[in-house]
């Protein structure tokens, strides 16, 4: 087993002029070769050492995905330190928490926005000594002497290194595969994030097993746009990227992500469900705005693609006639759509972190995208269970990776064991002991069962409920059914006897629908309160109910007056609903839903960005599904359209 810095040195030796990273800057892709990458990492490593960072310490990085992020990471690892990523959207309290636990003395921050946050928390974080920034715009007037420009650090490092020839090579050689390489924060739907330590060996053995199933090579490209603080991005961009020599591309700006991705045409992609869902919504919106001819052609092509995909995922072959038809469908309908989404070259796509609706899954397979579910968590390097190419079952998460042992405990909890199981939580031995038992099994905390060798995940073990008639289910199961609707952004289900739900609408798709219907509206609150929108969502809930067993159908729902927001702690940065916060904050609404009132009032406190707040009285109607049962005349609409 190797380490990341050694792999980087190997790549730089074998393919010095190959493109390792490229970033779009000023509208042009600017390549960084493996040789340049390696030499910048060396400079920064020397620079970090000159700042006093020593083996076993932690360097924090706070910013969007840029080459400097990875350069800092590899530089820290070169001198035996680990890196902890902080989500760029994090606010003071989260940043302080992570810096406190990791004890980082040096933080590499992106720009003025992130530096401002660090200036604010610095007095409370005793160990923080130096902040390095790599986007100097707006920081010209800052006089804090503990701020250093990244370019200056590289220069300082070069000078420092020139006086100590061979020092860094020795450091890299001293690095052991069992050293901690990356610290990833767990998403923390239940409590404050814990810091999971992953070693070089953990990450590389995971990359080894994953690429043994889905081979990747130096010709493959990857677009890095999800936070590098997330295990999924570390797993694909860093672990697979370095061990297989992939080219990583960084988009220019959040607003240009889609266009940049289309230009690159990545070969592999790993995203949480919301990215796939938003791609599907994009397709729906675009097709609904297209003329009838395009709609008809796509509808026909999609039908063919769907049938072929249905056979392919079972590993069955298609007949000659179907192959001819599918070639035509591919040319006129499916390939153009893939190209628009930037998926024209894709070999493998993964979704994970939360369940993805079978409709969305099916859509991507029908247009020829090899989308696969993976199951894992930060504690096992993000992936342990995966669909194989010819055996994709939409309701399952696939079979364990080679080298991964899977066991279902007596109480239904999923247990995993492999060489990718993490080295424990930093500064939290109690939590580590709860996660890994004496025999090395990782207790995932998820409930699931095996179906013909395939793992099916129900939900977090503590969230599994029993319905009135004894059916085991979870709220998430119902919520996901609701969220399969393009109009529903988030849903939270309550109760076990009579299921009720709180729903937030997706302002983009509902907005387009409202435009078509000639409804005028001002804000999100106004749109969500529109009775026609209520009616629209009722149809969607009805549709979801048809897929659910009778005992767990949604009886009543309401549309919340706002979207769930990570700034209000209602949802995590990775968009997982925080149930405890919702239960507390919207207790009145939930009571009203359970009682079956026709409407419910709530006092809403709005906090503005400048810190002032106002209180408003809001009355929300509760929509009951009772009277809706008779409305069965509408044909099911195709998954690719939001028109009825």
């Amino acid at each position: 087993m190797s380490t990341f810095p050694r792999l980087l040195a190997e790549q730089a030796r074998e393919r010095p002029e190959g493109v390792a990273l490229q970033e779009k800057l000023y509208g042009i892709w600017q390549p960084i070769t493996w040789r340049q990458y390696h030499s910048r990492v060396r400079d920064v490593a020397h620079g970090l050492a000159s700042l006093g960072v020593a083996r076993g310490e932690v360097v924090a990085v706070l910013g969007d995905n840029r080459p400097e992020w990875l350069i800092s990471e590899l530089a820290a690892q070169s001198i035996g330190a680990a890196v902890v990523g902080i989500y760029p959207t994090s606010l003071d309290e989260e940043i302080r928490h992570i810096l406190d636990i990791s004890g980082a003395r040096v933080v590499v921050a992106e720009d003025q926005e992130q530096v401002d946050k660090l200036i604010k928390v610095k007095p409370q974080v005793a160990r923080l000594e130096t902040v390095v920034f790599y986007d100097p715009h707006g920081l010209e007037e800052y006089r804090e002497d503990w701020l250093i420009d990244f370019a200056a650090l590289e220069q300082q490092g070069r000078a420092w290194g020139a006086e100590r020839p061979g020092w860094l090579d020795q450091q890299v050689a001293d690095g052991q595969p069992d050293d901690v390489a990356v610290i990833c924060t767990t998403s923390g739907t239940t409590s404050r994030p814990k810091l999971g330590q992953l070693t070089h060996h953990n990450l590389l053995s995971m990359a080894e097993s994953l690429t043994s199933i889905d081979p990747l090579g130096p010709k493959d490209r990857f677009v890095s746009f999800l936070p590098l603080a997330w295990i999924g991005e570390q797993m694909t961009a860093v672990a697979c990227g370095l061990s297989r020599g992939m080219t990583l591309s960084f988009p220019e700006d959040a607003a240009t992500q889609r266009a940049d991705m289309r230009e690159i045409g990545p070969h592999v992609m790993f995203s949480p469900p919301r990215i796939w869902e938003s791609m599907l919504s994009d397709v729906q919106v675009r097709i609904d705005e297209a003329g009838w001819l395009k709609r008809r052609v796509f509808g026909w092509g999609y039908g063919i693609g769907d049938r072929v995909a249905g056979r392919r995922v079972r590993g069955a072959r298609t007949g000659p006639w179907a192959r001819v038809m599918s070639a035509i469908a591919e040319a006129v309908a499916l390939r153009p759509v893939r190209d628009q989404l930037g998926l024209a070259r894709i070999k493998y796509c993964y979704t994970g972190g939360a369940p993805l609706g079978p409709d969305v899954f099916r859509f991507f397979h029908a247009i020829g995208v090899n989308l696969k579910q993976i199951y894992g968590q930060t504690e096992i390097c993000g992936i342990a269970v995966l669909h194989t190419d010819d055996d994709v079952r939409f309701h399952s998460v696939g079979v364990p990776l080679p080298g991964t042992e899977l066991r279902i405990a007596d109480d239904g909890e999923i247990l995993l064991r492999s060489s990718a199981v993490f080295a424990g939580y930093l500064g939290n031995e109690q939590a580590t002991a709860e996660a890994i038992d004496a025999e090395g099994w990782l207790h995932t905390g998820d409930a699931g069962y095996l179906d013909d060798g395939h793992l099916v995940v129900i939900d977090r073990a503590k969230d599994v409920l029993t319905a009135a008639d004894g059916t085991p289910f979870s709220s998430a199961f119902i919520e996901n059914k609701l969220k399969f609707s393009p109009y529903v952004e988030e849903a939270v289900a309550f109760g076990t006897r009579e299921i009720t739900a709180m729903i937030t609408i997706d302002p983009a798709t509902v907005g387009v629908w409202a435009d078509h219907e000639r409804l005028s509206y001002t804000t999100y609150t106004d749109l969500a309160a529109n009775p026609r929108v209520g009616e629209l969502v009722r149809h969607e809930v009805h549709r979801a109910n048809e897929d659910l067993p009778e005992s767990i159908r949604v009886r009543r729902f309401l549309l919340l007056f706002k979207q769930l927001d990570p700034d209000d702690d209602e949802i995590t940065r990775t968009r997982k609903v925080r149930r405890s916060v919702i239960n507390e904050r919207y207790a009145e609404l939930i009571d009203g839903l359970e009682r079956g009132d026709s409407e419910v009032s709530v006092t809403n406190t709005v906090t503005y960005q400048d810190g002032t707040s106002t209180k408003r009285q809001v009355t929300l109607p509760i929509h009951s599904m009772e009277r809706h049962q008779s409305l069965r005349d509408s044909r099911p609409r195709p998954v690719w359209s939001s028109r009825r």
Binding site: G27, Q30, R40, H137, E141, D253
Partner: protein
Amino acid sequence: MLTRAYRFELNSSRVPVGEPLLEVEDVSLRFGGIHALSEVSLTVAQGDVHAVIGPNGAGKSSLLNCTSGLYRPQRGRILLHTLDEGGASRTHDLATRRPHAIARLGVARSFQNIELFGHLTLLENLMLGRHIHMHHHLLPALAWFGPARRQEIRHREFVEEVIDLLHLQGHRHAPVGSLAYGIQKRVELGRALCIEPSLLLLDEPMAGMNAEEKEDMARFVLDVGELRGVTVMLIEHDMGVVMDISDRITVLDFGRVIGDGTPDEVARNEDVVRAYLGTDA
């Protein structure tokens, strides 16, 4: 190696910070019997964000139009100070010059009603802002050859920095007419910056915007002023924004200057309060 720091200066004025850059002296402008401006005098110092405020019809836009040469005042002088590379000082009277000659002196402006080329892309609109700095001849330009090519690449680099500064990357190749109003206003600012202004005139840069767009625009005006050192003279109705971002404010009412000073001084000026809030009758 790639650097993220900007390589081009946006400000082309060499006048030291704090020295007078523009001096308006006793300017009067009449349209028939209407006195749009009467004996208006004010001084804009290098490096300031200088706001001109006043009720509707106070003569704010007229003053800006006189400065950029669209109107010719009947009386008075509008003096722009420049320093050449050797440090020799020159003074130009803008009141006697044509608009294109004033633009060559580095006086750039945006308009209250957006005046962009709607069918051209954002990039093309900004490249047009570079026209006074383009010097190549027709033939090499047509052939995209030699110095013409190098020059255009250089200008494109300049324009890209402006795009980066104003966060317009996502719209680079979109026809400007299809962009949202708030974005178009930003493009107008961008095109004015592409001139490399010695003085930037902004005519109601935040008119018709929502609160968020206003905040963004205020941020950009401050970036341009404080960080890039461009002297900004702007007209604005939103008093909150003006008080927040201006170094100095001149108040006009019925074509006359009724107040001039820092935001604090202006807010305490009784004439100004009367003009804005009315008097107890």
